[in-house]
């Protein structure tokens, strides 16, 4: 096995030569080895030395946690004694089990890797670029469109090229603008759990909202029971005065039940038809698009779809968070594929996190700087329309404890193709309303509450978006170079990008 290990080491060293900066290498020899999460290019936060991975904005996650803990705490402290005596002690036991399950699945959803695709190594990116150039021929005025078509089970699916990650996204993957990662089987970015929901944590998310539905209904029912039984003895008002905590619990649960139970129902529908929230919102497999449109990923029957989503094999994380970055470098011949030597642009961008990004973005900038940009296929939009931003604070007070309902800061809206969705979110909340979004499912009303990241199919210049990032992300260099105003759709999207900038 020794040779095998040395092969592995060899490969790791080969990679690190290209991904670690030449300036860093001599420095690293003296300091301790770094783990890979420390140089992770996405906008994620890591805790416990890389074991825990979350999105950048975690404020709402703590709110969720506090709401659940406080409500359950009040329930166990004030109501359970009464119920255990008057009815049966099994009630607190069931409540306890549900509570533990909810917290467990919540933490699992929030802390795990949703299925992030690691970014391409410089060699891969260069190879892909070469293939794209060869396939499309340099027309000279426009960068080639970056999509690939593939036929899956009889349906033609377009694979899009991700400019940030330098890969062609696998089917059903999407780039999350908030976390700045491509995520496999991307469902949506949920601020309530503080993470993206994707292939690896969808089942935990579903279990979380399902068990939370049961828990809220459970608490709601039994607190009402408590109040009723108590008021039979001492009268209604004294019963309320006797346990004011119960009133708070009832209020929280009442509002939570609507959103959470609705959300569970919606996701049950999604699981049984093997769709992601992303696909459902865009109507990718809706029969209304064309007669032959069907979902190529569905297994045909509800049972198999459910089993596959919930009990299927759990793929491991593709980003090796806790692995060490190897800093020793074997001798390598200069690359013959036309990439400039890796150290050349380093001095200008020494504060950037990823060298290969710098190289590629420099190359891209040079390509783009001389050409007006065609970006119909680029797909990294983060759009926030003003009406959403303004109306949301009023709404969050109603939607307590509801996961994945809309939020003020940094929340993207669905793409321009479904403007009705975003408009309705501004005005109607809970009551069922005439939804112009053509979907026959009754639970679709709940979708109006959700802000989802639907990064595909919205034309927008990638550089503009990266320019909009408040962080010193490496692509801000890219954005400063180019001029997106040459086309109407680009202009519209750059305005949106600016709006996002001003609201963040």
């Amino acid at each position: 096995m020794h040779l095998g290990e040395s092969t592995r080491e060899c490969e790791y060293s080969q990679i690190s030569t290209r991904s670690s900066t030449p300036m860093e290498t001599p420095y690293k020899k003296k300091t301790q080895k770094k783990r890979k999460w420390e140089t992770f290019p996405g906008r994620n936060k890591f805790y416990c030395d890389g074991r825990i991975m979350m999105a950048k904005q975690t404020g709402v996650f703590y709110l969720t946690l506090v709401l659940i803990l406080v409500t359950c705490g009040l329930f166990f402290t004030f109501d359970c004694w009464f119920l255990a005596e008057q009815l049966t002690p099994i009630i607190p036991v069931i409540g306890g089990v549900l509570f533990l399950f909810v917290i467990g699945t919540l933490l699992r959803t929030s802390f795990s890797d949703p299925g992030v695709l690691p970014r391409a190594t410089p060699d891969e990116a260069a190879d892909l670029e070469r293939q794209i150039d060869v396939a499309n021929g340099s027309t000279g005025y426009r960068p080639p469109p970056r999509t690939k078509e593939v036929v899956i089970n009889g349906q033609t699916v377009k694979l899009k090229y991700c400019f940030t990650c330098k890969i062609f996204r696998p089917p059903r993957a999407s780039h999350c603008s908030l976390c700045d990662n491509c995520v496999e089987r991307f469902d949506h970015h949920c601020p309530w759990v503080g993470n993206c929901v994707g292939k690896r944590n969808y089942r935990f998310f579903y279990m979380f909202i399902l068990s939370l539905s049961f828990l809220t209904v459970f608490i709601f029912a039994f607190v009402i029971t408590h109040i009723i039984l108590n008021s039979q003895r001492i009268g209604f008002l004294s019963a309320l005065k006797d346990s004011p905590a119960s009133v708070l619990e009832v209020v929280v649960c009442f509002f939570s039940v609507w959103s959470i139970v609705g959300l569970s129902g919606f996701h049950t529908y999604l699981i049984s038809s093997n769709q992601t929230t992303n696909e459902d919102i865009k109507g990718s497999w809706s029969s209304k698009r064309s007669k032959d449109n069907y979902n190529p990923y569905s297994y045909g029957n509800i049972f198999t779809n459910c089993c596959a989503a919930l009990c299927g094999p759990l793929p491991p994380s593709l980003i090796d968070r806790r692995g060490f970055i190897q800093s020793d470098a074997p001798q390598l011949a200069p690359p013959t594929n036309g990439i400039p030597m890796y150290g050349s642009t380093q001095s200008q961008q020494s504060h950037m996190c990823d060298q290969d990004q710098c190289i590629q973005s420099t190359k891209f900038v040079l390509q783009v700087a001389t050409t007006p940009l065609l970006q119909q296929q680029s797909s990294e939009p983060v759009i926030l329309t003003p009406e959403n931003g303004a109306s949301i604070p009023g709404r969050t007070s109603l939607a307590l404890g509801g996961p994945c309902t809309s939020l003020p800061m940094g929340q993207p809206t669905p793409p321009a193709s479904t403007p009705s969705l975003s408009c309705h979110e501004a005005t109607d909340l809970l009551p069922v309303h005439g939804h112009p979004h053509n979907h026959s499912h009754p639970l679709q009303e709940q979708v109006a509450h959700h802000h989802f990241l639907t990064p595909e199919e919205v034309p927008s210049p990638p550089g503009m978006l990266h320019c909009g990032s408040p962080l010193g992300h490496s692509h801000t260099m890219q954005g400063s170079f180019y001029n997106p105003a040459s086309q109407d759709s680009l202009h519209e999207d750059s305005v949106r990008g600016l709006v996002k900038l001003s609201s963040v």
């Binding site: 490969e11 790791y12 699992r108 695709l117 891969e124 935990f204 094999p313 793929p315 074997p330 390598l332």
Partner: protein, 145 residues
């Protein structure tokens, strides 16, 4: 007739220079399952025969299919995990991880027996996020010198 010099992995690691890298991309015609294209890349024509290459890729594809297979074993594992609130994975390895270990062994074995003697090196796709099979082509110094 081209007679390739045999190299050991040690030689490759220490002395050989990288001439080129070939990337075998994913094949999505069966959906999101992890499968790689079996198309023989032209850069390898002088180094290895088509049959050998295709057999390697096909075996890898079969192994990945086994990892993601929906069968009774995976369902039992999934249900058990759910019932134990997923704490069972603290002590047990998932089926997928077990197969990945098998794949790593297979690749290493292929490298030892087939690819290194021809001046090639396969990289385990897991190290590339299951996007590509990277094949490093080393310069054949013994022929040029």
């Amino acid at each position: 007739p081209f007679v390739p010099q045999t190299h050991s992995l040690q030689d490759l690691r220490q002395q050989a220079a990288v001439a080129a890298k070939v990337f075998i991309q994913r094949d999505y015609t069966n959906g999101t399952l992890c499968q790689f294209q079996t198309k023989f890349p032209s850069e390898l024509e002088t180094r290895i025969d088509k049959q050998q290459f295709e057999e390697t890729v096909r075996t890898l594809n079969n192994l990945y299919a086994e990892a993601e297979k929906l069968g009774s074993q995976s369902y039992i594992e999934g249900c058990l995990a759910c019932l134990t609130a997923y704490t069972i994975f603290l002590c047990m390895e998932t089926h997928y991880e077990k197969v990945l270990k098998k794949i790593a062994k297979y690749i290493q074995e292929q490298n030892d027996k087939v690819y290194a003697p021809r001046g090639l090196l396969l990289t385990d796709p897991i190290e590339r996020g299951l996007r590509v099979i990277e094949i490093t082509i080393f310069e054949d110094r013994s022929l040029t010198q």
